[in-house]
């Protein structure tokens, strides 16, 4: 694998000082932002569904996992038909996995949540947990129980800084992950703020009955919310595949929990909040690992979540719930 960074074997050098300052911090910041972007992309799905339907879609982590698998399958098919231009492959894989995963999101909503919409509040949540099991077992049976690795697709990167033998590197994969996240976030923010669909979504968020009376197709709007959430999860799944180089049928669980935490931290229901929460969780984990112990990074992330929730019960950017009369 080509790496442009210089060889770092310290020739018997005794050193603690090299790279202990800003350059080390910069490298860890890059690590944290990339991880946070992936969390953020998944968190958006949680937050959108919560905002509109008021339920936590526990199957969302598994939708993310499905997205990763579809990206893998699409990638392998494209390579086997002899396509070699990397940007073209990436674009096709992105579109295919978004489309198919969106279909999964739509189906899950249609069969597991919609029939329970007017049931008691916990019913769809339990149904979501059930769907989570169904999806992970489904991919275990169809794709096998093993970890599915892909060889590095995008290699190389840039050396940003070199000081005292410490090299700050930004790899091409990291650039792609962050840029894709920013672009998609911009598109979907625009979608919610400026389009007809976005207006319907905001109307359903405020009052479904009233929205229906004024001619908004509530069922369709909710379906579209799940479709958009799933499409973003698919992007996260693909980025995960590119960045870490493997997918497995149980990866949805941990990633889902982290992203859900991010959504709560950012203020569940808020789109920019989800992204902010994702970045916050990614940065806390990374910086804690960087300066304290790797062992307790999850403890650190969850402790900060608790502290934030004590002082800001609705999260960083959440609005207090208005009692509907």
């Amino acid at each position: 694998m080509p790496t442009r960074g210089s060889d770092l074997r310290g020739n018997g050098r005794v050193n603690f000082s090299s790279g202990s300052g800003m350059d080390y911090f910069a490298q860890q910041l890059i690590n944290g932002i990339v991880l946070g972007s992936i969390y953020g992309l998944i968190a958006i799905g949680y937050t959108m569904v919560y905002g509109i339907v008021g339920m936590i879609n526990f199957a969302h982590g598994d939708i993310f996992m499905i997205g990763g698998f579809i990206a893998l399958i699409a990638f392998l098919i494209l390579v086997s038909v002899g396509l070699t231009t990397v940007p073209v492959i990436l674009l096709i894989v992105l579109l295919v996995s978004m489309a198919i995963t969106a279909l999964y999101g739509w189906t899950v909503e249609r069969i597991a949540y919609r029939p329970l919409r007017h049931s008691f509040r916990l019913a769809p949540m339990l149904s979501a947990i059930g769907m989570s099991f169904v999806l992970s077992n489904y991919s275990q049976i169809t794709q096998g129980a093993r970890v599915k690795p892909v060889p590095p697709i995008i290699t190389g990167g840039y050396t940003l800084l070199e000081k005292n033998g410490f090299v700050v590197r930004l790899s091409n994969v990291q650039i792609i992950v962050v840029i894709t996240t920013i672009v998609l976030l911009a598109i979907f923010t625009w979608l919610v703020a400026r389009t007809r669909l976005g207006r319907d979504m905001r109307a359903c968020e405020q009052d479904q009955t009233m929205a229906a009376l004024l001619g908004v197709d509530v069922d369709r709007t909710i379906s579209m919310t799940f479709v958009i959430g799933a499409a973003l999860a698919a992007v996260a799944g693909m980025m995960y595949l590119l960045y870490y180089g493997l997918v497995d049928f149980f990866m949805g669980f941990v990633a889902g929990i982290k992203a859900f935490t991010a959504a709560v931290l950012g203020g569940i229901g808020s789109l920019p909040g989800a992204m902010l929460g994702g970045l916050a969780i990614g940065l806390i984990e990374t910086l804690w690992s960087a300066y304290f112990s790797v062992e307790y990074k999850d403890v650190a992330a969850f402790s900060i979540l608790i502290v934030v929730l004590i002082f800001l019960p609705t999260g960083l950017l959440g609005r207090p719930e208005v009692e509907k009369v």
Binding site: T3, R9, Q27, G32, Y240, L246, F250, M251, K297
Partner: protein, 372 residues
């Protein structure tokens, strides 16, 4: 309606017949991670066990009975391992070859001891497995205190004056191995520059990789499983780090190289001398290859565990686990990976570890640590 009854009757009769056939067979079990991150090794164990049962049955079975194999999945999860063990015990299965993860083998062994099941692990190397003086346990692989010693010897010799970091995944196996290696290193006056742990199942090691970079680490020793090791290696190369990775026997599967790609080149691990090259294994390796299976890693160890049990049961003239265990510890057994004798704890008497190196093509070969 009549035809329906008839079908029911036929179905019932066939059920009765099949359970009668089951009663004729002697069921033994193999338990390991058939799903999850470690499933590559579960598959090795399953392959080894299936081949062994097939070969033993072809040679007439054990005590005149054909063997049937029960495959159980613990997903490398201690809780699931315990419930698998209870399931096996309640089915009155006299022998289990398992498990893979030490953190599964150890809690399971207590359930086996209570349930009168003899357990031989092909792969769990944590010393604690045999150190608790349970009557029912034995292993056909080595121990981490020996494995750590060999790793430490290699590191002290080849990385003298260089920076070494030790990581572990906090599991019984990973932490145990990292501790043994650290102990052996410190004993010869070698101090590691960094000792850290991570969570098994983590995918993002970029923060820890940047730390390795800051400390100018030349070699990182990982007490952990192949998936995390592969990801650490991959992320090291992504960040421009050429640090060598070294780990234990958990890297003995080609899946490691499929995670890392060509970056695997130069990675080191310790494992027993390649069982596939032993003269005793030649014909069996050919039979595996004919089925398209590469009997790498712990495949042949599992085969050997099955052989030890079946030979001892034949010699003891019973499948009673306590008597068979006494026979095992009192005798010497010809297995696919050589002659085996056990001490009173259940460890094999001849243990040796060697260092292996991965190449860019995704293969690993023994290296002679003395030569380099």
């Amino acid at each position: 309606m009549n035809s329906l009854k008839l079908i029911g009757l036929a179905f019932g009769a066939s059920l009765a017949l099949s359970s009668a056939a089951m009663a004729q067979d002697l069921t033994i079990a193999v338990a390991g991670p058939m799903t999850g991150g470690e499933s590559a090794f579960g598959r090795q164990m399953k392959n080894g066990a299936e081949q062994a049962v097939g070969d033993i049955n072809a040679a007439g079975g054990v005590l005149g009975k054909k063997l049937a194999l029960d495959v159980e999945d613990d997903a490398c999860d201690p809780k699931q391992a315990r419930s698998v063990a209870e399931k096996i015990a309640s089915a009155r299965i006299p022998f289990v070859a398992g498990h893979y993860c030490s953190s599964s083998s150890i809690p399971a062994s207590e359930a086996y001891a209570d349930g009168n099941v003899l357990q031989i692990t092909p792969a769990s190397t944590n010393p604690l497995f045999t150190e608790r003086k349970l009557w029912n346990v034995a292993r056909v692989c080595g121990r981490d205190d020996q494995q750590g010693l060999v790793a430490a010897e290699y590191i002290a010799k080849n990385y003298k004056g260089k920076n070494v970091a030790i990581l572990n995944d906090k599991t019984t196996y990973g932490k145990g191995l990292a501790d043994e290696t650290k102990k052996a290193l410190n004993k010869v006056g070698f101090t590691e520059k960094m000792f850290e742990s991570y969570n098994k199942g983590d995918k993002d090691f970029n923060a820890i990789v940047s730390r390795l970079k800051r400390e100018n680490i030349d070699l990182v020793y990982v007490g952990g499983y192949h998936q995390e090791s592969g990801l650490i290696l991959r992320q090291m190369r992504d960040q421009g780090l050429q640090t060598v990775l070294m780990a234990g026997d958990a890297l003995a599967d080609k899946e490691f190289a499929s995670i890392t790609g060509p970056a695997a080149e130069g990675t080191l691990f310790t494992f027993g001398p390649d069982p596939r090259n032993k003269p005793t294994a030649k014909s069996i390796v050919e039979r595996f290859k004919a089925k398209g299976i590469d009997p790498e890693g712990y495949t042949l160890y599992t085969y050997a565990a099955m052989q030890v049990w079946s030979q001892a049961a034949a010699k003891a003239g019973t499948i009673d686990p306590k008597k068979v265990m006494d026979t095992i510890k009192g005798g010497a057994w010809d297995t696919v990976i050589g002659k085996m004798e056990f001490d009173s704890k259940g460890d094999i008497k001849q243990i040796d570890y060697v260092v292996y190196k991965w190449d860019a093509k995704g293969n690993y070969t023994e290296i002679n640590p003395k030569a380099s």
